[in-house]
C-alpha cells in the first residue's frame, strides 16, 4: 500500500491523461462485452417477461404455430375434464397511426371468460361501461389501452385511437385504461385489449383463433392436463407452457449470441493490447524509480506485484466505467436486437426495460480486472528485471522491450498446426477452437511480422525522407515489441472490419442475386408495407378477383407463417407449386431425381431452402415433421433451392396440401404477374380501382418497392461494419499515441543528439509522424492479411450457425481501400501530440548522460 501511495499515485497524477488512456482500453473491452450481453439478455428476458404478463395465470397454451385453428377447437379443449378455464386469444400487431408509437400488440380476448386468467385492472372509465363487458362486447370499436400508452398519447376514456386494420384505418374508442403493472408492462405499454370476435373481423382471421390459454383444475398436475389435452386434440396441436415461447426466441437469439461473443472476445483482446501498451510506457517512464527501489533492496517480486496491483486497480476502475458505458450502449443496441422480437410478436420491446444482470456485471468486473492483469504481466515482468545500476544512470539507453523471440514464432507455428487440425476435424466445438487458436497464433506472430514489415518499409521511408525516414524505420526495427501492442490491437480491429464487411457485402450481393432471379412478380398485394408482417390475411377469393383484372396474367396466393421444426421456428411458405415452378427461377442446389416440383405438388414432399438444409444438417430424402391441426405429417425433402426469405430457413409446401391439413385458405400476399407487354403500373391502377374500395387494407406494391424494402433491411447489416470502422479508428489512435509516447521516451537521448547536431524541430516532428504512419501501415497490412483469414472463419460461422447461407469467399477490396486513408489519417492525427512533445523535450535533460 505504501509503495502504491509513494510510487504509483504520484506517477498517475503526473500522467493523468495517459493513465486515463490505459483505463480507456479496459473501458472499451468491458463496455463491448457488457453492452452485447446486456442487450441480448434484455431482449430475451424482456420477451420472457412479456410472455408471462400476457399469459397471465395461464398454465398451458394450445396452438398450431402461427397458423391458428378453427373456433370449434375451443369446445374440445373446454370439454377436457382436467381443464378449469380455457379462453381463446388472438394476437395481432397493428400500426397505431400515432407519431412515434409504431406498432401496438392487440390482444383479442373473450371478456366473458378471460378475467379468470388475466387481470384487467382498470384505472378509469365509466364504471358502468368499463365494468360492463356487455357494452364492450356490443360495440366492436371498443378497446382498452394501458396507462403508459394513454399517458404517452394523451388518451382518455372516450378518446379515439386510429389503428391500421384489415378493413383499413379504423378509429377505436378507448373504453378503459388499465392500471400500470403486470399485463400493462408488456412491450412498454404498447398493448391493447379488444373483443376477440371483433379482432377476428378487423384482422382478417375468419373464424379462427391464434391460441387458447388455459388453467388446469385445482389439484390436477399440469403434465397430466397436458397429456390429456394432447390426446384429445391430436399431435397437430402444441400444448406448451407459456414459457416455451421464450425458448423459441432463445433458439433464435442463440445464433446472434455467437456473433456477439466473437465480437466481445475481439474487443477484449484489443483492450488487452492497449493495456499492454500503456503499461509498457509506465515501465519505461518509471525506470529510474524502479532502479531506486531495487537499489534500496526491493525484491523483483515486489516490483512485479506493484505493477500488477496497479493494473488490477486500473482494471477495476476501467471495468466499472466500462460497465456503465456498456449499459448505455446496450440501451442503444437493444432496439436493433429487439427487431427480432418484432418478427415474432410484431411489436418491439421498448429499450427502457434494459437492466443488467448482477452475475453478468460480476463476470465483466472479473474479466476486466483479469484482462488488465494479464496484459500487464509482461511489462510487470520487464519492470522486475530492471537492472538498478543501468536504471540509475540518467539517460543510459536500455532496451527493455526486447526483440522478437524465436520461441514465440515456434509457438505460433504449433498453434497454427493445432488450428488446422481442429479445422480438419470440423465439428462445431473444434471449429471454434480452431478459430481461437488461429487468433492466438496471429497475435504471437505480430512482433515478428512487425519487424519484417518495418524492415520492408525502411527503403521506402528513406526514399521519402532520407534522415527522418531512416530514423523512423530504425525506431520500429530496434524495438518491434514496443510497436507490436498497437499493431496487434489495430490488426484485430481491422480484421473484424474486413471479416464483417466481407460477410455483409457478400450477403448483400447474394440477396440482390436472389431478388433478380427469384423475386420476379410485377406486383405484390399485401396487407402491410412490411411483407414479413403476417398479421393481415386475405381470403383466397381475393386472388380469383385479382385474376379477372385486365392485364393480369397470373396470381400466386402465398401464405407464410412460422412452424416449429426441431425446436426452431421455421418459415413455412405455402404456394401453388405449378405456378411456383413456372414463374420462379430459383437456383436449385439439389433435387430428387423424380422432380421436386412434381412431388411437392402431389403432396409427396417439401422443398427447403439451402440455409434450412445447412442449419438443420438435412439433405434430400431426409424427412421433415410438420404438426398440423389435422395431425402430424412427415414429408421427405425433395428439393433444395437458394432462398433468402428467412434467416432460419424456409420450407415450401403445396397450397392444396396446406388447405387440407390446416383447413385454412387465406393468403398473406398475392404475387401478381402482368401480361406480357402490359405496364405493371397500369395493372396496379386497375386493381386499386376495381378492388381497392372493397379491400381498404389492400396495398399494391411494385417489384421495385419490394426490392427497395428488402435492400433497405439488408443495408442495416452493413451498418454494423461501419460501426466497427469507428472502433478501429479509435483503437488506432489510442494504440499509436501510446506507442509513440514510449518511443519518444526510449529515444529521448537519440532525439536530443539529433537536435544538438543541428537537426531542425521540423525534422523531429516529421520523424515522429513517419513512425506513426509506419505503424499505421504495418497495422493495416497485418490487419488486411489477418482480415482475409478472419473473413474465412466468419463466412464459415455464417454458414454453420447463423443464417446457413453459403456465401462465396471474396475479399472486400472496396472496404480495404476505404481503410487506407482512414487509418493513415488517424495515425497521422495521433502523432501530432507526441511529435510536439518530442520537440519540446529539454535538450539539457536529453543529453544529461552525455
Amino acid at each position: 500500500m505504501r509503495l502504491l501511495r509513494l510510487i504509483s499515485w504520484p506517477y498517475l497524477r503526473k500522467h493523468a491523461l495517459r493513465s486515463l488512456l490505459t483505463v480507456v482500453g479496459i473501458v472499451l473491452g468491458v463496455a463491448v462485452f457488457v453492452a452485447m450481453h446486456t442487450a441480448n439478455q434484455a431482449v430475451f428476458f424482456g420477451f420472457e417477461r412479456t410472455v408471462d404478463r400476457i399469459a397471465g395465470a395461464a398454465q398451458l397454451q394450445v396452438s398450431t404455430g402461427e397458423a391458428g385453428f378453427p373456433e370449434e377447437v375451443l369446445e374440445r379443449v373446454q370439454a377436457v375434464p382436467e381443464v378449469q378455464i380455457a379462453v381463446p386469444v388472438i394476437e395481432a400487431a397493428a400500426a397505431t397511426r400515432l407519431a412515434g408509437q409504431g406498432n401496438i400488440l392487440i390482444l383479442g380476448v373473450d371478456m366473458t371468460g378471460d378475467r379468470g386468467l388475466r387481470d384487467y385492472d382498470l384505472e378509469s372509465g365509466d364504471e358502468a361501461v368499463i365494468d360492463d363487458p356487455l357494452v364492450f362486447l356490443a360495440q366492436p370499436d371498443s378497446i382498452i389501452v394501458t396507462k403508459e400508452f394513454a399517458d404517452r398519447n394523451h388518451l382518455s376514456v372516450g378518446s379515439q385511437l386510429p389503428l391500421s386494420t384489415m378493413v383499413g384505418d379504423k378509429a377505436f374508442r378507448v373504453r378503459g385504461i388499465m392500471r400500470s403493472g403486470g399485463l400493462t408492462s408488456a412491450f412498454g405499454g404498447n398493448l391493447a385489449v379488444m373483443d376477440i370476435y371483433a379482432a377476428e373481423q378487423v384482422f382478417g382471421r375468419g373464424r379462427r383463433f391464434d391460441r387458447i390459454d388455459l388453467k388446469v383444475k385445482e389439484g390436477v398436475p399440469v403434465d397430466r392436463a397436458r397429456a390429456a389435452l394432447q390426446q384429445a386434440l391430436g399431435v397437430g396441436f402444441d400444448v406448451e407452457s407459456p414459457s416455451a415461447r421464450g425458448q423459441q426466441l432463445e433458439s433464435t437469439l442463440a445464433v446472434y449470441a455467437i456473433t456477439m461473443n466473437v465480437s466481445s472476445v475481439f474487443a477484449l483482446f484489443i483492450g488487452m493490447f492497449i493495456i499492454y501498451n500503456s503499461f509498457s510506457i509506465a515501465v519505461t517512464q518509471r525506470r529510474s524509480e524502479i532502479g531506486v527501489l531495487r537499489a534500496l533492496g526491493a525484491p523483483r517480486r515486489q516490483i512485479r506485484d506493484l505493477f500488477l496491483v496497479e493494473s488490477a486497480i486500473s482494471g477495476l476502475l476501467g471495468s466499472v466505467a466500462g460497465i456503465a458505458l456498456g449499459i448505455v450502449m446496450a440501451r442503444a443496441m437493444v432496439g436493433s436486437i429487439s427487431s427480432m422480437l418484432e418478427g415474432i410478436y410484431g411489436v418491439a420491446e421498448r429499450a427502457d426495460e434494459v437492466s443488467a444482470d448482477p452475475r453478468l456485471l460480476g463476470t465483466a468486473l472479473a474479466v476486466g480486472v483479469l484482462t488488465s492483469m494479464l496484459a500487464a504481466w509482461l511489462p510487470a515482468r520487464s519492470a522486475a528485471r530492471v537492472d538498478p545500476v543501468q536504471a540509475l544512470q540518467k539517460g543510459r539507453y536500455q532496451v527493455l522491450t526486447a526483440g522478437e523471440s524465436r520461441a514465440r514464432r515456434v509457438a505460433a507455428a504449433i498453434l497454427t498446426a493445432a488450428a488446422l487440425a481442429c479445422l480438419w476435424i470440423g465439428t462445431s466445438l473444434w471449429f471454434y477452437a480452431g478459430y481461437v487458436l488461429t487468433v492466438l497464433a496471429a497475435l504471437l506472430l505480430v512482433p515478428a511480422a512487425s519487424l519484417w514489415s518495418a524492415r520492408a518499409l525502411r527503403p521506402l521511408l528513406k526514399w521519402i525522407r532520407p534522415v527522418e525516414g531512416s530514423l523512423a524505420a530504425d525506431s520500429l526495427i530496434q524495438s518491434p515489441r514496443r510497436t507490436s501492442g498497437a499493431v496487434a490491437a489495430l490488426m484485430l480491429s481491422l480484421a473484424q472490419v474486413i471479416g464483417l464487411g466481407g460477410v455483409g457485402r457478400e450477403s448483400y450481393n447474394s440477396i440482390v442475386d436472389w431478388l433478380d432471379t427469384a423475386l420476379n412478380p410485377d406486383l405484390f398485394i399485401s396487407g402491410s408495407q412490411n411483407l414479413s408482417d403476417r398479421t393481415f390475411r386475405f381470403p383466397k377469393s381475393l386472388g380469383d378477383e385479382i385474376a379477372t383484372v385486365p392485364g393480369v396474367s397470373e396470381v400466386q396466393p402465398v401464405r407464410s407463417f412460422r412452424v416449429p421444426v426441431k425446436g426452431t421456428p421455421t418459415l413455412l411458405v405455402v404456394i401453388e407449386m405449378a405456378s411456383f415452378e413456372k414463374r420462379g427461377h430459383r437456383a436449385m442446389v439439389a433435387e430428387d431425381s423424380r422432380g421436386m416440383y412434381r412431388l411437392t405438388e402431389a403432396g409427396q414432399g417439401v422443398i427447403v431452402s439451402d440455409n434450412f438444409a445447412r442449419l438443420q444438417r438435412m439433405e434430400i430424402g431426409d424427412r421433415v415433421d410438420l404438426a398440423t391441426p389435422a395431425g402430424r405429417i412427415t414429408l421427405p425433402i425433395v428439393g433444395i433451392i437458394t432462398d433468402w426469405s428467412d434467416q432460419q430457413g424456409s420450407i415450401f409446401l403445396d397450397r392444396a396440401l396446406y388447405e387440407r391439413q390446416w383447413g385454412d385458405d387465406t393468403a398473406n400476399v398475392f404475387r401478381v404477374y402482368a401480361a406480357p407487354g402490359t405496364d405493371p403500373r397500369v395493372v396496379r391502377r386497375r386493381i386499386l380501382e376495381r378492388i381497392g374500395p372493397s379491400q381498404p387494407r389492400m396495398l399494391v406494391l411494385t417489384n421495385k418497392e419490394v426490392r427497395d424494402w428488402v435492400l433497405k433491411l439488408t443495408g442495416q447489416w452493413l451498418q454494423l461494419t461501419y460501426s466497427q470502422v469507428f472502433i478501429a479508428v479509435l483503437v488506432a489512435v489510442l494504440g499509436i499515441v501510446n506507442t509513440l509516447t514510449v518511443s519518444i521516451i526510449d529515444r529521448k537521448r537519440e532525439l536530443g543528439v539529433l537536435r544538438a547536431v543541428g537537426g531542425f524541430r521540423r525534422q523531429i516532428r516529421q520523424t515522429v509522424w513517419m513512425e506513426a504512419v509506419a505503424i499505421g501501415v504495418v497495422g493495416l497490412a497485418l490487419g488486411l492479411l489477418f482480415g482475409a483469414v478472419n473473413l474465412y472463419f466468419l463466412l464459415q460461422i455464417t454458414s454453420r450457425d447463423l443464417s446457413g447461407m453459403s456465401l462465396p469467399y471474396r475479399f472486400p477490396i472496396s472496404i480495404a481501400l476505404m481503410l487506407f486513408p482512414t487509418i493513415l489519417a488517424a495515425a497521422l492525427l495521433s502523432a501530432l501530440w507526441p511529435a510536439e512533445s518530442a520537440v519540446r523535450t529539454s535538450l539539457v535533460e536529453a543529453l544529461e548522460y552525455e
Binding site: L74, E75, Q78, V83, Q84, I85, A86, D110, T112, G113, R115, G116, E127, A128, D131, D132, P133, L134, V135, L137, A138, Q139, P140, D195, Y197, A198, Q201
Partner: protein, 257 residues
C-alpha cells in the same frame, strides 16, 4: 263411525292429512310444490335492470325476456332493448333437466353469436350482480335438500331449506339456502355460499298473483364481495302465451325479428 264406509273415509282422511303433513316437512316436496305452483308453458316480461355499484352509482338497462317451457326443460331469450349501445344483444339459454344449460350470445354489431362456455357461468352477467349461472332455471332434481327450520322474511313465515348441488350438477356455489313462503310456496330469498362464505343474496319482493301464479316483480341480487346490488323489476308479466319453438334457436338469433 260404525259404518265401514265412514270408517274408511276417516282412515283415508287421516292418512291424507298425515301425508300432507309429512310432505310439508319434506324439503324436496316443498321445493317441488313451489315449482309445480309456478309452472307455466311460457312466460314473457319486460325487465328493468338497475345496477347500483359500491359507490352508489346507478346504471340502467332494459330487456325483453321470453321463456318457452318450464323448470329445467325450457328455452329462454333475453334481448336487451336499452341503452342504445347494447340494443339487440341477445342471450339464448337452453336449459336441460339433466345437465347445465347451453348459452349463446348474439352481438348485432358483429353479426355473430358466441357460446358462453360452461366454465364462464360463474362470471358476472354483463356487469350485473347476477352470474350467468343465476339465470339458469333450478330443477328440483339437480339438488339435494335439507330442512333447516322456519324463519320469517318480510313478515311472511318461510321454510328455510339448504340445497346442495347433486353430484352431476356443476355449480359455482358450494351450497345455497332458500326461503320458501309457507302461504304461497313462492321463493322469498336465496343465499348462495362458496366454501362457507356467503357471496350472493337474491331477495324476492312485490308479490302479485298473475294468472294464478304468485310472481315476485322485484328481484334484488346483492353481491356481498363487491358490495353492489342489482335490482330486476319485472313489468308486463304474462304466462302461458303462444310462443314459437323456432324462435328459440341459434338460427333465429342470426335473424332477429
Amino acid at each position: 263411525m260404525n259404518d265401514p264406509q265412514t270408517r274408511l273415509k276417516c282412515v283415508l282422511l287421516v292418512v291424507f292429512a298425515m301425508v300432507t303433513l309429512l310432505a310439508a316437512d319434506d324439503p324436496r316436496q316443498i321445493v317441488g310444490e313451489s315449482e309445480r305452483r309456478t309452472n307455466a308453458s311460457s312466460e314473457r316480461y319486460e325487465g328493468l335492470l338497475r345496477v347500483i355499484d359500491a359507490k352508489g352509482k346507478i346504471a340502467d338497462k332494459r330487456w325483453m325476456f321470453m321463456r318457452l317451457g318450464s323448470h329445467g326443460n325450457s328455452k329462454a331469450l333475453l334481448r336487451f332493448t336499452e341503452p342504445a349501445e347494447v340494443k339487440g344483444v341477445t342471450l339464448l339459454i337452453v336449459n336441460h333437466p339433466d345437465r347445465a344449460s347451453d348459452q349463446w350470445m348474439w352481438t348485432p354489431a358483429l353479426q355473430r353469436e358466441r357460446r358462453i362456455a360452461l366454465q364462464d357461468r360463474s362470471t358476472r352477467f354483463f356487469g350485473t350482480d347476477f352470474s350467468f349461472e343465476d339465470l339458469e332455471e333450478r330443477d328440483v332434481d339437480q339438488f339435494e335438500y335439507r330442512l333447516l327450520g322456519e324463519q320469517a322474511i318480510d313478515g311472511a313465515v318461510c321454510w328455510r331449506i339448504e340445497s346442495t348441488p347433486a353430484a352431476k350438477k356443476i355449480s359455482q356455489y358450494t351450497r345455497s339456502e332458500v326461503w320458501i313462503r309457507k302461504d304461497t310456496y313462492a321463493f322469498a330469498q336465496v343465499e348462495n355460499f362458496v366454501k362457507g362464505d356467503l357471496v350472493r343474496r337474491l331477495k324476492h319482493s312485490d308479490f302479485v298473483q298473475l294468472q294464478g301464479i304468485w310472481t315476485a316483480r322485484n328481484l334484488e341480487m346483492t353481491d356481498l364481495r363487491r358490495n353492489s346490488r342489482t335490482i330486476l323489476t319485472l313489468e308486463k308479466v304474462q304466462y302461458n302465451i303462444p310462443l314459437r319453438e323456432e324462435d328459440f334457436t341459434i338460427q333465429a338469433l342470426r335473424n332477429p325479428l
